[in-house]
Amino acid sequence: MHSDRAPLALKIAAAFGLLFMHVPILLIFVYAFTTEDKSYQWPPPGYTLKWFGVTWGRADVWEALSLSLRVAAISTVIALILGTLCAAAVARTRFFGRETISLLVILPIALPGIITGISLRSAFNLADIPFSFWTIVLGHATFCVVVVYNNAVARFRRTSGSLVEASMDLGANAFQTFRYVILPNISTALLAGGMLAFALSFDEVIVTTFTAGQQQTLPIWMLEELVRPRQRPVTNVVAMIVVLVTFLPILGAFYLTRGTDTVAGQGK
């Protein structure tokens, strides 16, 4: 244990674990270029760029992508507001029911998605709310709050409480203190939380299957293709693009919070 060299067996085991996590995703990239369009044949009989063009011309893919982006954007904004408010209240003060509030925020993620989904669906039915863009947003915002909350609460705790006092001491009222001290200090955490919330919403499928009517988000579109494959190569290309698109906010969030607080994994 004194040496800083890892035993060989540990190195191999760790490498195996990482390979297990990454090879399947990389395979998707190969399949996006295959010429085979009827089966999942490996190795691919040939390579082509043709399917990118085909996918580009598919109106249903564009519609699904646009819906997903709009839902994710609005859910993220709502989650940012609610998550920040909640984190500010919980991190700064002790009040009755504080624990309950943190539990309430985490619950939509801690319980299986199918339970959140069915609950919302039956509530919409009971209240005679027709399924729409907004019912999807309602569900997404609910489970995105926790990601923003986790990031913001960690930063609030790290931001020394005396900074707020110092600001007030120097003549700034509550709003000025928020504008000039609190916001600049939590902004990167909020940006990171927002990016993760966006990625979470963009990718969500389980709750969405219950809260969407006829509308198709991109994951719902993919689910349809998985259950009843129609044009496999298009699915391959879409899968690859989804991987690339979700990596960007994750990498961004990582660099924003690097060395400060960790991007909480339980946010998902």
Binding site: E165, S167, M168, D169, L170, G171, N173, Q176, Y180, P184
Partner: protein
């Protein structure tokens, strides 16, 4: 003389804990006032009550005669130097110092000029563009001081501002702070747990224990004439003599304090058993046992040092024994 800060029966309770308990206090304008006490004695809470970060559970605090109950921190004519300095990490040194002026609506060039002046005052010119994270502890402390002083507060509150510095730096800053206060004429209220710091810098000292003020007075007063056994013990490392022993010596059953340096070895007098000795450089401290009462004394160079277990005789001048009569009030 005008009273800068006045406490009128001020208490601050947290549930059953009485952090500050019925404190009465007057700090005069232009005075360097120290609040001294162990951690948890209520001194920092008193400072926070003046700044407005805490509200009294009962009683009233007046700042220059104005009741402060409904005045939020940002409208009080006081500024604070925080224990952890609380410099804004996202602003450079210049903008940290100019923060109060910016909030007050001063134009950018004007407030930057004032900030540079304040940095010169604390002997830190040329650092304006750095971020606080690029400064040493002593430099941060100076920035925190400049940031508070630039607003020309009527009262400057300092919460253990030298606590995080090493010994050498701390001694240098003590001298500087003292001369700065003389130069500016601002009322300083200084919180510390270091009795040496309080005695060497302050015009007057309030000794706190368990949320109450034990004694207020000049450093000389506090050192020579402690009013309670706690003050004698905490401030001067004085010997505190139990009432039973004081009765035998003087006929009055009260506590008394006796400074170790006032005790002498004599050929005859009070018999004492040596229980230990520690070498302190210029002097050696002996600990003694007199009929179950433990005493310490200082022995200068040139004396032969008795060994543990030896029987010695001790004495002192009559006026060295200070009786702590509770009725002296």
């Amino acid at each position: 003389m005008t009273t800068a800060v006045a406490f009128r029966k001020v208490s601050r309770h947290y549930g059953p804990v009485r952090a500050v308990d019925a404190v009465d206090l007057d700090v005069a304008e232009g005075e360097f006032f120290a609040m001294l006490g162990p951690s948890g004695s209520g001194k920092t809470t008193c400072l926070r009550l003046i700044a407005g970060f805490e509200k009294p559970t009962s009683g009233q605090i007046e700042i220059f005669g104005q009741p402060s109950a409904d005045v939020p921190p940002y409208r009080r004519p006081v500024n604070t130097v925080f224990q952890d300095y609380a410099l804004f990490p996202h602003l450079n040194v210049r903008d940290n110092v100019a923060y109060g002026l910016m909030i007050a609506g001063m134009a950018r060039t004007e407030r930057h000029r004032k900030a540079e002046e304040a940095l010169e005052l604390v002997a830190l010119p040329g650092y304006a563009d750095r971020k606080p994270s690029a400064l040493s502890g002593g430099q941060r402390q100076r920035v925190a001081l400049a940031r508070a002083l630039v607003n020309q507060p009527k009262v400057l509150l300092l919460d253990e501002p030298l606590g995080a510095l090493d010994l050498k730096l701390r001694e240098a800053m003590q001298v500087e702070l003292k001369s700065l206060q003389r130069q500016l004429g601002i009322t300083f209220v200084f919180v510390t747990h270091d009795q040496g710091e309080a005695l060497s810098m302050a015009d007057r000292v309030a000794v706190f224990n368990d949320g109450r003020i034990q004694q207020v007075g000049t450093p000389q007063d506090i050192y020579d004439r402690p009013r309670t056994p706690f003050v004698a013990d905490f401030v001067g490392s004085s010997n505190v003599l139990e009432p039973a022993m004081v009765q035998r010596l003087t006929g009055r059953a009260v506590h008394a304090s006796l400074r170790p340096e006032a005790v002498r070895l004599q050929n005859e007098g009070l018999a004492a058993r040596v229980t230990g000795q520690s070498f302190l450089g210029a002097v050696t401290r002996l600990t003694l046992d007199v009929d179950g009462q433990s005493l310490s004394m200082m022995l200068g160079k040139g004396h032969s040092i008795p060994r543990t277990g030896d029987l010695v005789h001790i004495g002192w001048d009559d006026d060295a024994l200070h009786l702590m009569d509770p009725s002296d009030g």
